[in-house]
Amino acid sequence: MSEKEALFSKKNKKLITDPLDSNNPVTVQVLGICSALAITVQLKPAIVMAISTLFVLSVANVVISLMRKLIPSRIRIIVMLVVIATLVILVDQILKAYVYDVSKELSVFVGLIITNCIIMGRLEAFGMANGPWKSFLDGLGNSFGYAWILIAVAFFRELLGSGTLYGYPVLEEIGLYNLGYENNGMMILPPMALITVGIIIWIQRVKNKDLVESK
């Protein structure tokens, strides 16, 4: 029998800090790319997506972790998907009834959250094999790692592509247009999101030599 670990023991803290850098879901585990491309045209939807993923990933991880000893191996993928989908639909329905405006923002993302590889990936890699508290922390950590990448990419795409930040016309205010700057339409398109993430990976690996791939 394993001894009882402190709630915030060193190992548990690592579950939250690792995904921020050395085990980042997007730049290291290569999960959640599709949404990183689609959602990051503007800051606002990126933040909404980050918060929704935080909720769904943590709760789903806990639910699967609680059920993990009961799930037959042969149907485990389907079970995980059903848990994720049910959770997302439940959230969407409740929002639609009581906070209609928020649900309108979210309805676009419902499909994207259900098929977000991060959620499925973490459920399979961690939730199925660990206890509920650890799974919860793992969900939190990965959501934070995902969120900061989303926000970083969205920051540059919205700023350079539309000249705004969270809808606020920043470039106009500081007079950059007068110097001849024009909104870079390419930034709005998905390929530039890929290149932006590529650059983030570059910077990350310069700082963290462990991640550099050997020849």
């Binding site: 259900i114 590889c117 499925m120 398109l189 390929p191 530039m192 590529g198 791939e213």
Partner: protein
């Protein structure tokens, strides 16, 4: 035949899942380290798509969409289960993937371990779900068209992942900065290939053959009015 060839070519090159719609990126980027594993995953995707798209087509047209259940009986004419499409498609895909996982584990354990987590991740591969959702939007006339679309999408994805894997293998001998090696440069190359593929966006293969009935009706009714217009003009002249 012409239609089927059109759909096939269109779904491989013009509506390419990876470069036009940027779906299925996670597995595409993670598994493309070697050509061998890419071929394995690519074939798995073609297989899954070739089966799930037609199965979902049958599901959509005979169970889910409005009036689909009419073959059970007249009373079911107005039953509309379309809201279940999303979750039913996912269920079909997840079952197929579970099947594929068991087959791969049995027949090629090396492939199974090198694919790792990305084999079960085919279930949430946005390209697979996306193909079924596009099939639903495109409203194909027959299951053959839907199957051709599914296979074409799969082949498009296959070509994309094998292509990038080949590039990655070759690029190992180039002077890529250490921090950019591997994943970083792959992202950038894919971005550049995506920009290149945008040149395909303007090509239209299908001619719009649908007969425009409402416009005909409008023209008919306007003809009647023109005759009356002449009468009115005459009357006005009389008055003057």
């Amino acid at each position: 035949m012409q239609d089927l060839a059109n759909i096939f070519i269109k779904s491989i090159f013009i509506d390419n899942m990876v470069f036009a719609y940027f779906l299925g990126m996670c597995s595409y980027l993670a598994v493309s380290k070697t050509v061998k594993t890419s071929i394995g995953l690519g074939l798995a995707v073609v297989f899954v798509l070739g089966i799930t798209v037609p199965v979902n087509y049958l599901l959509e047209n005979y169970v889910l969409k409005e009036g689909a259940l009419i073959w059970i009986g007249e009373e079911f004419k107005n039953v509309d289960l379309a809201f279940l499409s999303f979750i039913m498609f996912i269920a079909v895909i997840a079952s197929m993937v579970q099947l594929v996982e068991m087959i791969v584990e049995k027949f090629s354990p090396t492939l199974y371990s090198s694919l790792g987590i990305f084999l079960p991740l085919i279930a949430v591969n946005c390209a697979i779900l996306g193909a079924s959702l596009f099939m639903k939007e495109n409203d194909y006339a027959s299951i053959t068209e839907a199957t051709v679309f599914g296979l074409g999408s799969g082949v498009g994805w296959f070509l994309a992942i094998v292509g990038i894997a080949a590039i990655r293998e070759k690029i190992r001998y180039s002077n890529v900065p250490p921090a950019l090696r591997g994943l970083g440069i792959t992202f950038i190359i894919t971005g550049l290939m995506g920009i290149a593929f945008m040149s395909f966006m303007g090509i239209k293969l299908d001619a719009n053959n649908k007969i425009d009935n409402s416009l005909e009706l409008y023209e008919d009714s306007s003809k009647e009015v023109n005759i009356d217009n002449n009468n009115i003009n005459q009357k006005e002249e009389n008055l003057q």
